[in-house]
């Protein structure tokens, strides 16, 4: 039998799940959230929106296809990952695949987690854990590995995670006659890739950068972790940008910040949407899309000012999935049209945005 360190996941309500360690041998804490996707652990782990969180995968078998190689580029843009490193603070799975098999695999998931100092635990009834989180809501938790020191619970939502994950300097990607300002609230690299692929110049700026000082054709507000109320600086800059009437598009956190700039408010969902199978409907149409999502907060439709309207709605729980201005070229999606990981069915929203650039 394989000898592995024992480990335990302890939730803030005292519930414990006994398992075994397969990642970094150290303890960790954060907000425990679950994702029901069946593929895409390299993408999820490097998604900045998971900053401060311990990820539970409901699909039991993880690590099957290993981890693709690092592909460092300057300015930073990876083909294989969504950021430069792992953002989750821990990983919880049912069954870890000790051997992996894929032509692109360069190392095992365990080795990668160890090199990035991320603890991980397996042999956990992730279904029972997920049901617990579903019933009680997302909660704080910690993974303690046998022989390692205890750690305190940590609540990432009290921190400005957007500031933490955003780039610190301005950098430029791609080339084209049009310039898009990409406000990095913790951007996934595939948003950059999706824009560059469409022949525009992307100027990636920090979350609180006053981009109104530069000449641009459109603004793109990225995804990002945590509570949108922490990103007031971005909201102020968006309000300024709105006055120019130039196109604005947002994704996930970008949807929430655009809504806040419009005057609406957001709230925390009981356990969030984290999966590849969230159904959304474009309001006023029969068009529906399967979307990839990762968010814990949502826009409160009832607080949208009259000149704004919901653009998409979640078919399962009727929560907001996007907004748009009734007359101006401003729109955003709560889901991830850039996918990675997940279905790519809404990537056309990038085309819609590019088409608006004059």
């Amino acid at each position: 039998m394989r000898e592995t360190q024992r480990a335990v996941l302890i939730l803030e309500d005292g519930t414990q799940f006994q398992g075994k360690s397969f990642g970094y041998e150290g303890s960790t804490s954060g907000e425990v959230v679950f994702n029901t996707a069946m593929t895409g652990y390299p993408e999820s782990l490097t998604d900045p929106s998971y900053e401060g969180q311990i990820l539970v995968t409901t699909f039991p078998l993880q690590g099957n296809y290993g981890v693709p190689p690092e592909d460092p580029q300057s300015p930073p843009l990876s083909d294989n990952f969504e950021s430069e490193g792992i953002h989750c603070r821990g990983l919880v799975v049912q069954d870890y695949s000790w051997e992996n098999s894929h032509w692109l695999s360069s190392r095992s998931l365990a080795d990668w987690l160890k090199s990035q100092k991320i603890p991980a635990i397996y042999d956990i009834d992730t279904r029972a854990l997920t049901k617990h989180l579903r019933e009680k809501g997302s909660m704080l938790g910690k993974i303690l590995v046998e022989g390692c020191d205890d750690v305190d619970f940590y609540n990432p939502n009290l921190e400005n995670l957007v500031a933490k994950t955003s780039c610190k300097e301005v950098s430029t990607y791609g080339d084209g006659s049009k310039t898009v300002v990409l406000v990095d609230c913790g951007v996934k690299h595939n948003i950059v890739r999706c824009l560059v692929k469409r022949g525009v110049k992307v100027v990636r700026v920090p979350w609180d950068y006053d981009f109104n000082t530069i000449d641009y054709d459109g603004v793109f507000i990225s995804n990002g972790p945590g509570n949108p109320d922490m990103a007031e600086a971005t909201v102020r800059n968006i309000r300024c940008a709105m006055k120019t009437g130039k196109p604005i598009c947002g994704i996930c956190m970008g949807n929430q910040l655009l809504a806040k700039a419009a005057g609406a408010s957001t709230y925390k969902l009981k356990y969030g949407h984290r999966s590849h199978n969230q159904p959304v409907r474009q309001l006023g149409t029969n068009r529906c899309f399967v979307t990839s999502q990762n968010h814990g907060f949502a826009v409160d439709n009832s607080t949208l000012p009259p000149e704004w309207e919901p653009l998409f709605v979640n078919l399962n729980d009727n929560t907001n999935e996007g907004i748009r201005h009734k007359t101006q070229p401003f729109f955003s999606a709560q889901f991830h049209p850039e996918a990675s990981s997940g279905p790519k069915d809404t990537e056309f929203l990038f085309d819609d945005f590019i088409a608006l650039l004059k």
Partner: protein, 1079 residues
């Protein structure tokens, strides 16, 4: 929804008899479609001659026609019923092909019948290979470039241009019929000729052996909204038909990019083709890049879609039917959560493994290698939270004596490398043996091209088994190792065998129980999990369940109120046990529920209706082993358990469950044992003074000879241990006997042989009945058309009997009542009799429902299972007043064979069952019912421009066939006959052309040539007896008939009856009457 309002009556085409490539999955699809229509208040008309299905039961369709699903009969039904719409996607290739023909001939348009769902043109685009490639080229989707050819010469030219190996496929064929790989001109010639017999068009293409095979199930509504409900990955790489492959869902070796790349392509394809409903896209995927080819698209519900439905909990057929009415996916709700949308893609939190079930051992001469053509007869689906757990469960479920991946009886392998590279039905066990002999994962990968990931997982099982082997005593096994073994799907028996093989062999029951007690003491018990489609994100409102050791918490709160009744299902479809037991199981569940109990089902067959989670209160999609049934009973603590409706698998558990205190409802385990145990049963019959054929269990050749001296040849020989070939054989002389016992069986003290006198020219009679406390409350006596010697599962059966003496019937009834009383039967039972003159002998007795229960129940219109279940629930059941003498009509049950799939198999009938399915048709008299039934099982009325080949066996058989030969001649059929038959016909004034056997190559005309030139449209080839020399004589003729798709009859009595029917009843005189109209 304006389209829905116009549709008030729809016609649904079923798939007919179960055959290889088209089995129970279409009972599931059709039943779901009927439910969907019913929910909309639409009147439904069903055409399906398969009387044993659930869909042809009361309460599913409004009108049922037990008629062949062919353009002629469907047209007649359309003319009579005038439906507004037709559903073509729910009855497999049979329904689809029939629908395309009706569309092309303008019948649908003429009668204003709208095709619901996918338009016929889209179906044609996917079925015609050339059109298909062209359509996908339009959107730059890569297909396997193939060339359509219409002759053997063309095929050779193309193959030589592409370079071998090539694959050959027949267009418009189900399950890869007539398909295969060719490495050279000779193989190509043979295969192409055969394929051209089934299809005017044959495709030759370059082979991509070794690529991964991946499938997506895609759904689209008329608003262009698309979802992929499930993807699946074949364990076996490309080259093995997906129906022959172990399949895993969801895919395990694809990265996110791989998964969504193929998913996006699938959606692009379904949109371009214009599917409305469901379709399946199959890919070949390069294991070393993101290169792909689309293999095929099935524009209908398929075996894969049934599997995907069961694997995910997403009711594909139901949703597809609703989409056909014009609904959008967003209009429909998720049937599991009841609150969330049906527009979504299921998230699984478990892994599913499908394993095919083959029955190749039943056939003489069949090629055991598996490849691009389907040979399996059924499948199982196993659910686990590790791959190891799922596959080990699955390997037990296939039910061929295997205990999982390890701890099996070793199989004989001449050359492991060969057996790995050229797979047979045993390949998974070859991998096990190779690993145990030290083959590395890389080495096995090189030989098999199976992805290393799967092999690594299998390796874990081997490692754990060898670690267990280091302990000799159950008490010494450390708790973590015991738990790991259970998490990897080890059964208690596997653990017992790993630690102490001798004890496990000598006292299996005790060994298993020791392990069970010890692990329970260690706190190692399985937990119950729900399949909820959303990975626990939303609560489920259905109880679709499985058990796993990879978890700590049950999803179900057990009330332990003893209000559950557990019904054990029938497991994998296989020769001898198929959809008829699903009908029985479903009907038992319905009665249980109607009588106020909680209905609980255990079954693992994804092709069934009984595994639909809306058929019962709780469905355990899990094993039917003693261990797992006990696990479930421990959790459920039911009032009682029903074993008698699921065929032999549950029946076999009776004694063991009883020994552990399980409350078995109905007939007691003791009685079941008394009927199953040959010695006890025989002694009981002797005591009751009931006659039976003489038999003896013998352990040496001398004893066998002594017995045969008494009873004479022929004898029926049944070895208890079979080396190869079929388990039973009739031996007509000493040479036969010696050869059979030397080659096929092993006679010893450990392996006795049962020898039974074989009575020739006797009638075989079935008694299906229900008793309550030893008293028969309902019964049906039916007679075989063939004389005894044809297995009852292959025989043509008529009910009510038309040619039995009243005296015989009365005796059978009396004897049956005495047996029922002696065994104190409560519930269903079946007794088989031989009758000669008025003497009757009991052949066997099963204290469970039999294969013919749905047939007699539906013909008589008395639901025997409903009555039996009521009796087993302890209710006071009244005997129905109606009986078979009141019927003004006749039912005929005929068998469907799948020999065309089973390359090399001799299509002759014997004492071992060979049919894969059956139909049941009703008519005014025997001939009319028989004609409908025979036309439903791939026979056709011969074309008068062609001839009929007669080769009719012994003088007695020739004489039996004389009237039929006269009738053929009088009706203007041209007759061809081989030597003896020709002489006999000539002597009797019937002109016939003499033809020659392949063993007379110098003579002309050769029978085989005529067959190959399609100058013959019916072959009647009656072997004189069942000796191997006689069998080999006609083998080439029979095989050629099957391979060239020419109807073949091998039984004189059945051939006479069929010829009599089609020469006396013109096809347009066949009455088009629904089931309801017979009363």
């Amino acid at each position: 929804m304006e389209e829905t309002n116009k549709i008030q009556k729809v016609l649904l085409l079923g798939s007919g008899a179960l055959k290889i490539g088209e089995a129970g999955e279409f009972d599931y699809s059709g039943s779901q479609a009927l439910k969907a229509m019913k929910e909309e208040g639409i009147t439904t008309v069903l055409i399906n001659p398969n009387i044993a299905t659930v869909q042809t039961s009361e309460g599913f369709a409004d009108k049922i026609y037990f008629l062949p699903v062919t353009p002629y009969f469907v047209t007649k039904v359309i003319e009579k019923e005038r439906p507004d719409g037709i559903l073509l996607a729910f009855g497999g290739q049979t329904a689809l092909n029939c629908g395309v023909e009706l569309y092309r001939s303008g019948i649908l348009e003429k009668h204003g019948v709208k095709v619901l769902g996918t338009p016929v043109q889209s179906i044609i685009d996917t079925e015609d290979r050339e059109l298909f490639v062209k359509r996908l080229d339009e959107i730059d989707i890569k297909t396997i470039k193939s060339q359509a050819v219409e002759s053997v010469d063309q095929a050779l030219e193309v193959a030589n241009r592409l370079g071998y190996p090539v694959i050959v496929r027949a267009a418009y064929a189900l399950g890869g019929l007539g398909s295969g790989f060719c490495d050279n001109d000779t193989q190509l010639k043979a295969l192409t000729e055969k394929a051209l017999a089934f299809s005017p068009q044959v495709l030759v293409e370059k082979s991509l052996k070794g690529w991964k095979e991946v499938e997506y199930e895609v759904v689209r509504d008329r608003y262009d909204n698309c979802i992929t409900v499930c993807n699946m990955e074949n364990f076996d790489p490309l080259g093995i038909h997906t129906g022959e492959s172990i399949v895993v869902a969801p895919s395990q070796t694809l990265s996110n990019d791989d998964y969504h790349y193929l998913r996006s392509l699938a959606i692009k394809i379904i949109r371009h083709i214009g599917i409305v409903g469901e379709c399946n896209v199959q890919y070949a995927y390069d294991p070393k890049s993101m290169d792909y080819r689309v293999i095929e698209v099935n524009a209908r519900l398929s075996r894969s879609s049934a599997l995907a439905s069961k694997a995910t909990g997403y009711p594909l057929a139901f949703v597809a039917a609703k989409l056909g009415l014009g609904y959008g996916l967003f209009d429909l709700k998720n049937s599991v959560t009841k609150t969330t949308s049906a527009f979504f893609e299921p998230a699984l939190d478990y892994v599913v493994v499908k394993i095919p079930r083959w029955d190749l051992g039943k056939f003489h001469g069949v090629n055991r290698e598996i490849g691009s053509s389907m040979k399996s007869v059924g499948e199982v689906m196993a659910i686990g939270r590790t791959f190891e757990e799922a596959i080990q469960k699955g390997l037990r479920m296939i039910g061929q004596g295997m205990h999982g991946f390890v701890a099996n009886r070793p199989i004989n392998i001449d050359n492991i490398d060969h057996a790995l590279a050229d797979p047979t039905d045993k390949r998974i066990f070859v991998i096990s043996q190779a690993m145990q002999q030290g083959y590395s994962v890389d080495h096995i990968h090189e030989l098999t091209k199976i992805d290393r990931w799967f092999l690594f997982k299998l390796r874990h099982i081997i490692d754990t088994a060898s670690e267990l082997g280091q302990y000799n005593n159950v008490n010494d096994i450390p708790q973590p190792l015991m738990r790991l073994a259970k998490q990897q799907g080890f059964s208690d028996f596997q653990i017992a065998r790993a630690i102490n093989p001798q004890y496990a062999a000598s006292s299996p029951e005790d060994a298993i129980w020791d392990i069970r007690q010890q692990r329970i003491a260690m706190g190692i018990i399985p937990v119950v999990k729900q399949i909820d489609t959303l990975g626990a994100e939303y609560p489920a409102h259905t109880n679709y369940l499985y058990l796993t050791y990879n978890g700590t918490e049950n999803d179900i709160n057990y009330l332990h109120d003893h209000r559950s009744i557990v019904v054990l299902g029938s497991g994998a479809y296989r020769i001898g046990s198929s959809v008829e037991f699903d009908w029985c199981s479903v009907n038992a569940l319905m009665t249980v529920k109607a009588r106020g109990w909680r209905s609980v089902m255990i079954n693992f067959n994804p092709e069934t209706v009984s595994t639909d989670y809306d058929m019962c209160d709780r469905l355990y999609f899990d094993e039917l082993t003693f261990e797992r049934v006990m696990d479930i009973l421990d959790l459920e603590q039911p009032h009682g358990t029903i074993l008698s409706v699921g065929g032999q698998i549950p029946n076999n558990l009776a004694t063991r469950l009883d020994a552990r205190g399980v409350n078995i409802l109905g007939t007691s385990a003791q009685s079941i044992d008394n009927a199953e145990d040959r010695h006890k049963f025989s002694a009981m019959l002797d005591q009751l003074g009931i006659d039976q054929p003489r038999w003896q269990e013998l352990t040496s050749l001398e004893d066998i000879n002594a017995f045969i001296d008494k009873v004479g040849f022929p004898v029926l020989v049944r070895p208890s241990y079979v080396l190869s070939g079929a388990a039973m054989n009739v031996c007509s002389n000493n040479d036969e006997l010696v050869r059979f016992l030397r080659l096929a069986a092993n006679v010893s003290k450990q392996h006795p042989v049962v020898v039974t006198e074989f009575i020739q020219n006797a009638k075989e009679i079935e008694m299906d009945a229900v008793a309550n406390n030893g008293k028969i409350i309902a019964y049906a006596i039916s007679e075989h058309i063939e004389f005894a010697g044809v297995h009852s599962g292959d025989a043509t059966i008529q009910f009510p009997p038309q040619k039995l003496y009243v005296e015989t019937m009365r005796r059978i009834k009396k004897v049956s009542q005495r047996i029922a009383a002696a065994l104190n039967i409560t519930g269903p039972f079946n007794i088989q009799y031989l009758a000669k003159n008025n003497d009757i002998k009991v052949i066997e007795c099963n204290l469970r429902a039999s294969r013919s229960f749905p047939f007699v129940s539906k013909v008589l219109k008395i639901n025997f299972i409903d009555l039996a279940t009521q009796a087993m629930l302890g209710e006071d059941v009244q005997a129905p007043s109606k009986n078979a003498f009141d019927l003004d009509y006749v039912g005929i049950k005929a068998s469907q064979f799948s020999f065309s799939r089973l390359q090399g198999a001799d299509p002759v009938l014997g004492v071992d069952m060979a049919s894969t399915g059956e139909v049941g048709c009703i008519g005014e008299n025997t001939s009319e019912a028989l004609l409908k039934a025979m036309l439903s099982v791939s026979n056709r009325i011969p074309d008068k421009s062609k001839g009929i080949l007669l080769s009719t066996g012994t003088p007695k058989q020739k004489a039996d066939m004389l009237d039929a030969a006269h009738a053929l001649h009088n009706h203007g059929f041209r007759l061809y006959a081989t030597g003896g038959t020709h002489a006999f016909l000539t002597d009797n004034g019937i002109p016939a052309v003499r033809v020659y056997w392949p063993s007379q190559p110098d003579m002309q005309p050769q029978a085989l040539d005529l067959l190959h030139r399609h100058e013959i449209d019916l072959v009647v080839n009656i072997p004189k007896n069942l000796t191997s020399t006689e069998l080999s004589n006609g083998y080439k003729i029979r095989r050629a008939a099957v391979d060239l798709n020419i109807p073949l009859l091998t039984n004189a009595r059945l051939a006479s009856a069929f010829i009599n029917a089609f020469t006396t009843i013109p096809i347009d005189k066949i009455e088009i009457k629904s089931w309801e109209q017979y009363h």
